[in-house]
């Protein structure tokens, strides 16, 4: 129900850390970071953007941990070819 996208904080244009400039793949927008001030917000942080507001700070640590678990699954699982390369089932 909610389109939200990861973006990097690249600037605090007004110096007061209410508004930040966030960037997604080279596209920049001013966003409101009021919801994240309590936890502290810095240039270089990655946040989740929704309707012009930063909703959450992305935890690199959690992301890495999750990736490590999934990568281990990949290394352990045999015969991945069975589930790849789908064609249509004949109707």
């Amino acid at each position: 129900m909610c389109l939200a996208i990861p973006a990097k904080i690249v600037e605090f244009p007004d110096g007061d850390k209410t508004i930040a400039v966030a960037e997604v793949s080279g596209v920049r927008r001013r966003v409101n970071v009021d919801l994240l001030r309590a936890g502290g917000i810095e240039i270089g942080d990655w946040v989740l953007l929704h309707v012009g507001f930063a909703m959450s700070k992305i935890s690199e640590e959690q992301a890495v941990e999750q990736m490590e678990i999934l990568t281990m699954l990949d290394e352990m699982t045999p015969a991945m070819e069975e589930v790849r390369g789908y064609e249509f089932a004949e109707p």
């Binding site: 389109l3 973006a7 997604v24 080279g26």
Partner: protein, 348 residues
């Protein structure tokens, strides 16, 4: 000999014209096929091609008409004048026709700064000269202040169809390859950002350019293998390919990972919830070619400066017929539909 246009499959029941009718997707199609075409019924029109094909002497002429109502008039990478010339030339090019001449009609808003008009005239002259095509005439009208968004341009183009090329959707076969000349989405996203309502900034520009040099190179190399071409303007690649397969016994399978998109276009689409396959392009073309000439065609296009980005993005398949599907790297498939109305950003 009178030939009646076959009864249109689309019926136009709308009581008023909406913006969607101009977006290039389903509503536009219903307007053209369900309302306009039945009034003008004739066999040339019935082909619904980018350009009309008129037998003339030993060969055929291609003629096309186009209208340009872009707002803002000027944007990163070009302006309405560029679009008007390039867009018209491109309609001729993808019909396999060497452009011969253009004409232009200007609808000008009273109060328009003459410097703006002059800038557009210069842009048009420039774009036409680049391809060596004269602008041989046209008309000018002025409407009251508040109409025409500054200026509207409508164009007419004529070209001579290369006899070596036979473009026909009925000649497309499973196994044929779908080629794309370069990255998509640049024009539509540039315009969206240039309107300023969304407050997004990006280093992006319209891809407006004439594709005749690339098409011509492909024709020189492998004319006999080219089945169909189209420039994916309003409605994007998705709409153009859906128009190809509609009613046919074959479909298109696109490899989603192969579709070239500039990073910033991708970022804007993800941010706004838009599908880049529905976004307008003004400097690209699609070609369906037989499998045996696909590599040659790509090499020919890539050898022309500006054509380096040409790639194969998919193939024609027997199933499902009449549909365009996207295949992801992990084998997930989705149908790719025609555009319905204007692509609108979403938050959900």
């Amino acid at each position: 000999m009178t030939i009646e246009l076959e009864r249109p499959k689309m019926r136009f029941r709308d009581t008023q014209i909406e913006m969607a009718h101009g977006a290039g997707g389903k509503a536009s199609r219903r307007l053209v096929e369900g309302l306009i075409a039945p009034h003008f019924a004739n066999p040339v029109l019935a082909e619904f091609a980018d350009a009309a094909r008129l037998p003339y002497g030993d060969g055929s002429l291609a003629t096309t008409a186009d209208g340009f109502v872009v707002k803002p008039l000027q944007f990163p990478g070009g302006s309405i004048g560029d679009l008007a010339v390039n867009g018209t030339l491109n309609d001729l090019a993808v019909s396999g026709a060497k452009p011969l001449a253009l004409m232009a009609t200007f609808i000008l808003e009273a109060g328009l700064d003459v410097a703006v008009l002059e800038r557009e005239l210069a842009a048009m002259a420039n774009a036409a000269q680049r391809i060596g095509v004269p602008i041989v005439g046209g008309d000018t009208k002025v409407v009251e202040h508040g109409m025409a968004d500054g200026m509207y341009v409508s164009t007419f183009g004529v070209g001579s169809i290369d006899p070596r090329v036979r473009l026909d959707p009925a000649s497309v076969r499973p196994g044929d390859r779908v080629l794309l000349s370069g990255p998509i989405g640049d024009h539509g996203i540039t315009i969206l950002l240039a309107r300023g309502e969304l407050d997004l900034e990006a280093d992006l520009q319209s891809d407006t350019r004439c594709v005749w040099p690339f098409v011509s190179a492909a024709i020189e190399r492998c004319a006999a293998g080219i089945r169909w071409m189209r420039d994916p303007t309003r409605g994007g690649v998705a709409t153009a390919l859906n128009e190809l397969v509609r009613g046919q016994s074959y479909g298109v399978a696109l490899s989603e990972d192969a579709i070239p998109v500039h990073d910033a276009v991708r970022g804007a689409c993800e941010l706004l919830g838009l599908d880049v396959l529905h976004i307008a392009n003004e400097g690209q073309f699609l070609a369906v070619v037989s499998e045996d000439v696909a590599d040659d065609a790509l090499a020919a296009i890539r050898a022309v400066p500006g054509g380096e980005g040409a790639v194969c993005i998919g193939e024609i398949r027997e199933k499902p017929p009449g549909q365009v599907v996207g295949v992801s790297g992990y084998g997930g498939m989705r149908a790719i539909d025609m555009l319905v109305g204007d692509p609108l950003p979403r938050i959900c």
